[in-house]
Amino acid sequence: MAEILRLDGITKRFGPVLANDDISFALNEGEVLALLGENGAGKTTLMNILFGHYMADAGTVTVAGTPLPPGQPGAALEAGVGMVHQHFTLAGNLSVLDNVMLGTRPLFSLRAGRRAARARLAELSGRFGLAVDPDARVADLSVGERQRVEILKALYRDARVLILDEPTAVLTPQEVEALFATIRKAVAQGLAVVFISHKLGEVMAVADRVVILRRGAKVAEMRSAETDRHRLAEAMVGAEITPPDVPPAVPGEVLFRLDRVSTAGTPGLRAASLALRAGTITGIAGVSGNGQRALADLLSGLEVPVEGRAELMGAGLGIWSPRRAVGAGIARIPEDRHATGAIADFDLTGNAMLEDYHRPPMSRRGWLDRRAARRRAEEIIARYDVRCPGPATPIRLLSGGNMQKLILGRVLEAGPRIILAAQPTRGLDIGAVTYVHRQLLAARARGAAVLLISEDLDELRALSDVIHAIHDGELSPAFARGEITVKELGLWMAGQGGRDAA
Amino acid sequence: QGAPIKVAAVYTVPVEQQWVGRIHIAAEAAQARGDIDYSFSENVSNADYTRVLREYAEGGAQLIIGEAFAVEQEAREVAAEYPEIGFLMGSSFPPDEALENFAVFDNYIQDASFLTGIIAAAMSQTGNIGMVGGFPIPEVNRLMNAFMAGARAYNPDTEFQVAFIGSWFDPPKAKETAFAMIENGSDMLYAERFGVHDAAKERGVLAIGNVIDTQADYPETVVASALWHFEPTLDAAIAAAKAQEFKAADYGVYSFMEHGGCSLAPLGTFEGKLPAEAAAMVQDYMEKILAGTYTVEIDNSEPSA
């Protein structure tokens, strides 16, 4: 197969950070190359340089033998480089078709050419198995559908190299399978794919070759057929990573109970029943958009039951709010750490006291105790191994894993009895994932009740003592560890579990 | 004669504004004659007004002209601080014996306004006169009231439409307001603001000017105007200042017709088109006013239709 892409000596600094350090590799037509590395290793930066989004300080990008002018996404697109960004680049208020057509015709032409565009989009959807409604507003789409739009955007422009930056981080297992099918179709038609993921299983499943970055430098390159997950992990982190042991649970009393609870909104909960016991981890499996948000919001204090009864430590919820939830000892790890879990422009100190700034020791009679706050932040940084320059660093400068560690520290410090963990490991590298898992297990050992909402079935099955599936706001019955197969769980997640079982 | 004295003026609006414009013209004329050395600041907000007064006072001005209306109290405080300097201020208040260097003036041109009222009523077919003003302040109100009195003296049944546009400089708005009045039956407009003449011209109705003579621009439209001449006021003040005799006095009378402070603009293009009866009435009142046997009432209250 012919070489389609070559990176030569790419180097890039952001101020003091050396994000890419003299990286070189090549890619052939019809090949899938996986790019691996911890959070902050420089994967996204490298791809942004390849795509012309950033300009490298040194090095060249060559596509099909022709060097790309640096810093021009237009030229990269023209040369056949398509990129699906880690954070999607879609205009939410515009339609799918508009997003796909954007920039594909000369700006000053008088016609939009919507009809031809629509036809071409339909053709591509069919060919690659990427079904979307061209007239849907992007903001109304699920994450998986949005990703399909992103891929279609690249294919629409005749991409020969397709870059997928952590495409599976937000996908359900089914969606991941569909994506892999698409990738296989694409390589079969001669495309080359760069695939970035933290999930080694996926990498082994889809990639032909693997390039591993550590602290900005390329540390290894191997054929996936000639390696295994342990060797990849070791090359990535520099040490072996062992998943935590899961000792048997010691279930205690019920700390939180839902009895046929429904909430407003779509999809809200529908007559959901659930019991969180001390000393157990309760997992919720489901395709995103099936009411997980409502369940998490209910436990967080953002939602209230409109029907049914919710009980906290045996009593009703009362006037329910986030502050009540915090006060009742519920630790909440939100799904979206950037938008909900942290205030990007605040420093670590501010973020560490976000939930209890209003009471001693953080403040007295309305006056903040800045020394206490700083001490708290320093403690969390030390105890939860948050890698950062110090408590006065704006949290936006932290990697996702370190941000998540600070949030963990914030909510776990007080020794909460109930823990909500919504997608706690999304986007984290393998080291950070292991860390989060250890923390949740430690809390369980302390006697906390943990509600784990995740789209990662491996994670769920490894950690959960009890699993529910959620579909369209309805919870399945509780299944104890080992009581249900992946296949059965899948049926429950699709809403067909009850029927089959009956 | 002697050397020119240093005169400074502080205006709250640009010199295009008619009221201020008349002062400015008079001052420039005095400067051209060599009587004064004139400098001015325009569009000074009232928040900055006393600072600018002080600056001129510090800078060696011998006579300062301005508008104290909205800053009466503060302006008097400034004058008290500089007893050597003459302050000639537009003001609705009388002079204060205790403040010897603070004299007042205003545009007391009700005499001429009254006469234009007679002419307006005589030239209106419908007996419906539209009046567009900026703000209902005394300087505007007294002219409007005198005008209305004049019109009623000729035709007691004259109807008026009165509107204020809340701005000194929005000719398009003044024009629209005038259009509405024309549509509502006015065939004669009293133009306190720029823009009114234009509406009259466009719709072929007549108009009366105010403070300045605008007939040259609107020969078919402007029948007559009540003119303000600031020269008598200024010349009296300059003479007093030169003689070191400037003192607290009311210069308002220098705007009266008998002092030449106001006049009826020549009928010009409308010469001979006035009904004889009206012409005679104008002549009659003018003589009485000049002779002091008739006094046009000074009414500062907001006019209403």
């Binding site: 996404p73 960004h85 208020n93 057509m101 000053f108 | 701005s167 024009k175």
Partner: protein
Amino acid sequence: MELFDILVSATFWAAVLRIASPLIFATMGELICERAGVLNLGIEGIMVAGAFAGWIAVYAGLPLWGGVAVAFGAGVAFGLLHGLLTVPLGLSQHVAGIGITMLATAATYFAYRVALPEVSSPPKITAFQPTGWAVLGSQTVLTWAALATVAVTGWVLWRTPLGLALRAAGENPAAVEAQGLPVHALRMGAVAVGSGLMAVGGSFLTLSAFNSFFFEMVNGRGWVCIALVVFGAWRPGRALLGALLFAGFDAFQIRLQQTSLGAGLPYQLFLAMPYLLSVLALVVMSRRTEVPAALMTPYNKGER
């Protein structure tokens, strides 16, 4: 004339169109800027500059359309300045806008004084004359041009690739960049052209509504246009409706003052009516789903 008679008279509707015309131009200008993601509070000053530039150009001998073009050019110049400050430099759009309004206004007055030091009453030009077409015949051709601007704005924004790119730049500039389009150039262009339209709106006052230039004659119309864009939910058609509604209130209050109903009330109440009713209309509509998502957010590649 009582209430109903006012509303059914053709002269009333003619007045509405006349009053609305400068607002329409400037509102379309602001709408274009905001659609591309840039709030332009320079509008009031840019209208002043346009009013002056158009008029002085005609006074200096250019034909009327030449005056309109000069006004447009003046607007573009100030727009480029606003764009430079807010787009590549990413300065606060509030501050830059207020600064531009101060600068454009003061520079205009200064230029006026320097150009015409000895005039006490500004000279007049021969302005656009009513065309006498159609029922609402007292309109000048510039009013029809204002209406055409609405259609063209709508067409460009929704039916051409350029319009799509501009709207996307106001929704998510990263998406525009990712499709190989220059975000900064698009935004700069939108601000420049939008400001040009604002200036043409200002020049309507001196070339059509009136025939000479006065200080302060723009008199807050620019601020009203900011409100009209929001009122119109960032859509040209609805913004046009808003402009007509506002002008309607204005024309109505002028007439209402002379009715038996209006006679006893303070004139300030009438002057406040268009503003109060605009606020009321906003409250009644109170939907803001359509706000361009990236409005007031500068785009800086690679920022996190």
